[in-house]
Structures are given as C-alpha cells and as structure tokens.
Amino acid sequence: MVSILQSEWFKFRHSKIMFIILTVPIIGIFLGFTSRFSNEDFEINEWYLSLLSMNLTYALLFLPLITGVLASAICRYEHQAGGWKQLLALPVTRGRVFIAKYVLLIVLVLVMQVLFFVAVYIVGMIKGFTDPFPMVIVWKSLVGGWVATLPLIALQLWMSILFKSFAAPFAINVILTLPTILVVNSERFSSFYPWAQPFLMMYIGGETGDTFYVPWVQLLTVVGGSFILFFVGGYLYFQRKAV
C-alpha cells in the first residue's frame, strides 16, 4: 500500500500538475482583496468578516470544482497510452490502487485547505488586521470543509476513472456544483445536498453547538451517506473496469 502511494506521489510530482494547487493561494488572495463586506459598520473581529466573505466563494464554487480537476489530473497518466494496463499488471490489487489514489487526493485537498487559510492570514496581515486571529474558528472551518469534500472527491475520482477526457468529468462536476449557489439560500434543501456541505461546514456564522458548523446528524447522514455511496460506487466500478 505504501509503495503504491509512493508511486502515485512520484507520478504526481512529475506531472506538472502542482500548479493546480498553486491556484488556491492565488484565489485566496484574490478573494481576500475583493472582500464583500466592510467592517466599519460592525463591532466584531475583523477576521470574521474576511472569513465570511472569502469562504463563501471558495467553498461554494472553487473548492468543489478544483478538486474535480485534481481528480482528473491524478488519472491522466493512466488514461494515456495503456497506463491502466501497465499499472494493473503490477502486483497490486485494484482496490488498493483506488484507495491510494483517493488517499493522495484527500491529502492534497487538505494541503489546499491549509494554503487557503494561509492566504486568508496573509491578506489579513497586509490589510493590517489587529484583532486576534480566530484559530478555533479557522480550524473548524478548515477541517469541516475538508470533511465535506470527501464524498465529492470520491465521486470525482470515480468519474475521472470512467472518462478519458478532463472535460467530461468536469462537465458532470459543474452540473452538480452550480445549483449550490441557489440551494444554499434554502435551509431546507441545502442540508440534504452534498455539494452544499463544504459551504455549510465552512460558514462560520452557522450553528456552533456541535463540533462543526453543521449538526452531527447531518454530517453523518448527508456527508457520511454520500461518501459511502460514491466511494463504494467508484470502488466497485474500478473493480469491473475493462482495461
């Protein structure tokens, strides 16, 4: 298992796809400087407003879309000239290959989350924020957003294995992501829609009674349920895929 992961990491490192990850701080800084709210009217921690507005676009659109690109990037090598055959002819099980790719993806997404909040911090520093950096809130939001994308990544990996091109899985991803903009307006629908979960989990104005910004029940049923569905679906599909 470790060796498959190492090999996946090696391929990734040499695929020039690192630049995808670099878009995260770029977008972070962009969102930071185009922040929607001005805090002159409010008497709260400056970081809150910055986080509120930056997290919105990031979690609503950017995060779910970019993880899909990452998933396709991770399967790119295999889709070229018989790569799947080559990989699966090695003494590895398909299940492990799937899991290794998935693990690499979620680690990279965690790195992206960290980079995003580093960007938030840098923007705050440049803007000269003097209020204390709300570490607890940031942690909740960082890890929460990450957990909420776990099911999406499973589906994206599935679609990326299914389709050769970048465009096809991306199209599916877009079709599922765009409605979120509307869905989050409705409390009733948004709690059930998996693509709305990253936003809800990163929405620092949300419920704070539980560990994250969404209730545990919702986390377990919606995020957990969709994760199992997508992960098992992708796993089984990969078992059967003709290469």
């Binding site: 796809i17 630049f19 091109s165 970048f166 991306f170 877009v174 765009l178 409605p179 509307l182």
Partner: protein, 236 residues
C-alpha cells in the same frame, strides 16, 4: 476551404455530447429558475412590479457562470478530440492551412454557443409565459439577455481555445476555466478591464453595449493572437 473543414469538424463532434451540453447549459440555467420560482413564486412576484424584468435578472445571474464554464468544457472537448490520438498531425498534413484549421474550430464552438444563447432566449420566453409574468413580453430585453453575454464572452472563448489547443495537458485549460468562473462570480467587484466581468454586462457606465463591443473587439484580437501562436508551433 473553411466550409470543408467545418463540415468535417461537425462530423467529428458527433456522439461526443457537445450538442447535448449546448442544450443542457441554457436548460440548466432555466431549470434553476424553475426551482427558484417553483419554491417561492409568490414571494418573488411580490418583489417587483416588473415581473419579466425581475425574472430575466434572475436568469441572468447564472448566465455568465454557465457561459464561462460551458466555454471551458466545450473548448477542452474540441481539443481533446484531436489530442486523444494526436490527430492534429493527420489534420495538419492535409492540404489545408493551419489558420483555417484553427478558424474552423473557433467557428464550430461559436455556433454551439450561439445555439445555446438562442435556446436560452427560447427557454426564458417559454418559462416566463408559463409563469404568467404578464402580457407585456419584453422581446428586446429577452434578446439582449440571451445574446449580449455571448458576445461579451468572445474573449473568453478565444482565450480558452488558445490554451486548450496548445496544451498537451487539458488540466490547464480546465483550471483556467475554474479561475474564470470565480472571477465571473465576483464580477460586481472586478475592475472593468477583466474579460471575465464582461458577460455580466456590468460596467461603470451601466451600458451593456460597451461590454458587447469590447467583447467583439478584444475577442477578435485574442483570437488572432491565439491563431498566430497556434500556426507558429510545431505539431507533435
């Protein structure tokens, strides 16, 4: 020469789902409003006296996003049809100029997006009538909201086609598309010179026609730059 290439290119996109996506884009934009109005029609109709105008504004809030992402998807599909088995070399060694090969790709994409824009108008009209938004159907506004964003998005089309056709790795144009949609989503805060702002039809003078003119002008320019770069490069 260009006619022949166009006929060949339209044959090549068969079964690739590009026509379907061109339909799905505008359909999706209206379907979101179907959900929106379906859930809270009474509330929304109370918000304004100009129900048609209000409805079209809502539709238009999604059009730029669908356009930017649609362009990224369609251009990448077009490029990957030639990239997949490196059919560029076969195509370019036919007795055609590289410029016309590039022009043909641009025209096919332009046509697909034109159809999308047309469908957007038709669907808007259809659903608007279904909603009973009033007898005063604002046909001119309808046309503007359907075709202005398309024309204003031509620079994005030119840019994405350029990137997609010279990239071995289609992750690059798709990533550009993701960045683009974030810019488009933040349109109201973008400076006027950013091409991703233009499909929103916003500008400091409140004159959508400026975006259309800029779109056509800068789109042509970017198209030429992309084409020249494409012809200059060696074919792998």
């Amino acid at each position: 020469m260009i006619g022949k290439l166009l006929r060949a290119d339209f044959l090549k996109i068969k079964r690739k789902g590009l026509w379907f996506l061109s339909f799905l884009g505008p359909f999706g934009v209206i379907a979101l409003q179907m959900v929106n109005y379906g859930v809270r029609k009474d509330y929304l109709l109370n918000q304004s006296d100009d129900d048609w105008g209000y409805f079209l504004e809502y539709v238009h809030s999604f059009t730029p996003l669908a356009l930017v992402l649609g362009i990224a998807i369609l251009t990448s599909f077009m490029a990957s049809i030639e990239n997949e088995t490196n059919a560029w070399k076969q195509l370019i060694s036919l007795p055609v100029s590289k410029m016309s090969v590039y022009l043909s790709k641009f025209m096919v994409l332009g046509s697909l997006l034109f159809v999308s824009s047309l469908l957007l108008g038709v669907f808007s009209l259809g659903y608007g009538i279904l909603l009973n938004l009033g007898d005063q159907i604002p046909y001119l506004e309808l046309l503007k909201y359907s075709f202005y964003p398309y024309l204003a998005a031509l620079p994005i089309l030119a840019l994405q086609l350029w990137i997609a056709s010279v990239s071995q790795n289609q992750g690059i144009p798709i990533t550009t598309g993701v960045l683009g949609v974030i810019f488009a989503y933040s349109a109201f805060i973008l400076p006027d010179w950013m091409i991703w702002k233009w499909p929103s039809l916003m500008n400091e003078w409140d004159e959508p026609l400026i975006n259309v003119m800029l779109g056509i002008g800068v789109g042509t320019l970017l198209y030429i730059v992309g084409m020249l770069d494409f012809t200059r490069r060696d074919v792998k």
